[in-house]
Symmetry: C2
Subunit: 348 residues, 2 copies
């Protein structure tokens, strides 16, 4: 077994604290990754505090992992020791169902294996995440990372990146398209960067006027205050795509109305209260609401390659491991631009 | 001007009663249609009673019209006197916007001209519908009808037919697909017939066990009681397409759950209360909710040709004009299989 240092939550109410555990010895297709950076996703906080129910403890959160391969199983083909590597939101799946065979493992009929807070396929071992020094993972769920990119900024691509890239790609965003992004946080700021890189004319929608400058700095072409009813009225039937990354409670109608004929509302935000949908706004313009959850293994690699080509990384604030509890409190106040990333050297 | 006999509502609370008015003389591209049958759509009742607001009186409802051409304008190319012809939910549009240029006139940027309860493009004349002996309409919004089909059964194709055909077609329903239809009324019974004709394996979902036999008679391969939680649980992630033709209040979650990876919930029912959507159910399986409103002029002709080829008509109960108020009361009790159609000879 492989000893690992980590930070873990021991219960919904306990702060994250130092924790040691062991990872499995490498199986034939496994790689051992020395973790360099680990992004801090809002869902880490939700799960550490059991806000979605069913949390398993001790829990080592973290599913935005960047590191270096230090050892490979005998059958590993994709990697050699020394290669940069990433691990995202999942580390396994049934591999047999239709979605798995189509490399859409996130929709595995038996359920994917989440990187943490989930049982491994043996249904006994609890998977543990990236707030740790090393991880063992089947190579299928490990990705190549370009050495041209800032590694700390790459970490959030493994969740915030693929979560927004996948629906924009599925919706066919291309030059000439008008795309709006609602909600400027970890997901929203990546969505703006991707939509711009795909050639679209991008409008940032936000309830906060203070974000106007930030949106333009990220590459958005326009900024509209979503509380400004007159400005929103002018945008009715205007967009091909609206990406909704708002996690606060809201109805979909405000964004649906903005969609032109055959326009698509891409849902990646997860408000607690189920949003309402006016069927009259839905049938108008043949509008559609499309949900999307991270992305499959092939698409995740495609996204990382796209980022290397277009020089895209997340905007991050690098923190030491022991800062994590303070980082969670600041996340709750949206006091981060736009992702905390743990420098794992601080734990070694 | 052309004198016309009709039945009209004079106010939200008055019963429909005999009414006479005049239609315009034929313009170059107009045809004059002698109306033989006029379908009775639930939206006729909503609008006659001003349940959606903004109703204009006097109102001659009716937008499922089948008849015979008796005169053509000098520039008319599609029709000759004696031809069978149909008129549906719209009779005009701006003709200049992108949707109009793409023959998706129902999504006209300026708003389509509804067949009744709407101003004509002159913004002065109130359009009057099919509960009348004759109608004048630009040939673009008039369709060819096969003489092989039962004409009374054809009338509802002009609204209930195209409203369900268009989203099933847009969703790409084809042999091998599993399709569920929720709500067995005017729309639902057409959806079952179309999905079967497109080669899908079709399941009827209904809250009423009494509809099981009817569903199978219409061609559905399976019938499932949607109140049966265990049966519904078994169908989770089962369907490629669910068509929701339920007009009673309900949340979308019950149907969303049934969708397989990249499955589509097609919304054509219009409940009064905006349904809720769980974002967790939406992101699972990359599900989508797609609204759809009737269909464009080219697609309406395509649907009518498909019906002629596949021998599809609506199941109807033919009534005389003076029975309309009683028919409305029976519709409110869902006491019709599945569409009333007025034999317009009864008014001549």
């Amino acid at each position: 077994m492989i000893p690992v240092k980590a930070y873990a939550a021991q219960s919904p109410s306990s702060a994250l604290a130092p924790f040691q555990f062991e990872r499995r010895d490498l199986k034939e297709h496994d790689v051992l990754v020395d973790i360099l950076f680990s992004g801090v996703c809002h869902s880490d906080l939700h799960q550490a505090r059991d806000e979605w129910g069913g949390s398993m403890y001790p829990m080592v959160p973290g599913h935005e992992i960047v590191g270096k391969i230090i050892k490979t199983g005998v059958q590993v083909k994709k990697f050699s020791p020394g290669d940069l590597a990433g691990v995202g939101v999942m580390v396994d799946s049934c591999r047999e169902c239709r979605p798995c065979k189509n490399y859409m493992e996130q929709y595995c009929a038996e359920g994917m294996t989440g990187t943490y807070n989930n049982y491994e396929r043996d249904r006994v071992t609890i998977a543990q995440g990236g707030y740790s020094t090393r991880i063992v993972c089947d190579e299928r769920w490990v990705y190549h990372i370009s050495d041209k990119l800032d590694l700390a900024g790459v970490a959030p691509l493994l969740c915030a990146g693929i979560t927004t890239y996948s629906p924009l790609k599925y919706a066919g965003v291309r030059p000439g398209h008008k795309v709006a992004v609602a909600g400027l946080g970890g997901l929203g700021h990546m969505a703006v960067k991707f939509a711009v890189a795909m050639g679209a004319e991008v409008t940032m929608l936000s309830t906060s006027p203070s974000k106007a400058n930030d949106a333009l700095k990220l590459g958005a072409h326009h900024f509209v205050l979503s509380k400004d009813a007159a400005a929103m009225k002018k945008l009715e039937s205007h967009f091909d795509v609206v990406l909704d990354a708002v996690s606060g409670n809201h109805d979909y109608e405000i964004y649906l109305k903005l969609l032109d004929v055959q326009g698509k509302l891409l849902v990646v935000g997860l408000p607690k209260e189920a949003p309402r949908v006016s069927p009259f706004e839905l049938i108008k313009n043949r509008r559609c609401i499309l949900g999307s959850m991270i992305g499959g293994t092939l698409e995740t690699q495609e996204m990382l390659d796209f980022c290397a080509e277009k020089n895209i990384v997340a905007d991050v604030e690098v923190i030491p491991m022991h800062y994590i509890n303070e980082a969670y409190e600041r996340m709750l106040k949206n006091d981060v631009k736009y992702r905390f990333v743990i420098d794992m050297a601080s734990l070694k």
